[in-house]
Symmetry: C2
Subunit: 157 residues, 2 copies
């Protein structure tokens, strides 16, 4: 469908899909099927970020992680996605959602285990002191560093 929306509404067809990630090379395959449209940035919003993110079959939203200083929220728009946390796995369908309060040390991510593309909204803020923890991988992120490190503090490439 071609729509003809104008601001403050957004014509999604006109927004580029981005696949960029800052992860070190060894993790790139896990998010290779992930593309994002930056709705919030495109609309000129700065209080929070909103992406419409698409996961191909097999792709992950991110490495399993939790945030020190940033709340995160996801809402399933289409398809089915498995939410993985310390407690195990739950299947989320369109209209279902999940939220990850900052500083709760329960790593989470979404994995598309289905045979169809799935799409979700992800919402969060950028905190200057943000630090992210990766329970399953030898990785750590501190925004003030400007790059990913290993758990021993050495730079990850």
């Amino acid at each position: 469908m071609t729509d003809s929306l104008h601001r403050p509404a957004l014509d999604l067809a006109g927004i580029p899909s981005e696949s960029k990630t800052g992860y070190p090379a060894e993790f790139l395959a896990r998010v290779a099927g992930r593309t994002r449209k930056s709705l919030g940035r495109t609309l000129g919003l700065s209080d929070f970020g909103i992406n419409l993110t698409e996961l191909q079959p097999g792709a992950q939203s991110a490495l399993r992680h939790w945030h020190r200083h940033e709340d995160e929220f996801i809402f399933i728009v289409s398809g089915e996605l498995s939410l993985i946390t310390d407690a195990g796995e739950q299947l989320l369908r369109p209209g279902q959602c999940a939220g990850f309060p900052k500083n709760v040390p329960d790593g989470h991510h979404l994995v598309n285990r289905s045979n169809a593309v799935a799409c979700y909204l992800e919402i969060g803020c950028n905190h200057p002191d943000e630090e992210a923890f990766y329970p399953d991988d030898d990785l750590h992120f501190k925004r003030s560093d400007g790059f990913f490190t290993r758990k021993d503090g050495s730079r990850a490439k």
Copy 2:
């Protein structure tokens, strides 16, 4: 459908629908068919607020307004809603969205002109100095006042 999601996922069926508003009595009819589920608050998020809001036929999301200090974003989940701004009216369908950057003096609201219930996500932050402007109505809001006023500054009841 009964789901059996557990935190950090949210079972929407278990969240109460709220119809409260702080508007003065003369405006209550316009939002009488509006109910909200506070997803963000229920999930323990504080960086931003997220409501899943339902509008019955004829109901409005709010009086037409704009915010001084708060960005706002809406995403249509089901049904059809008319977005009204200074430029006129646009029909938004599921998967379409709009964003309202703070301090842009273009009053906006959603009106359900259809014969079916419509549902959307609304996202925003609470700024302590927030002030809201209502181009079509004799109304003004300043959070530090704690109540609505008329445009002449007198308290609106």
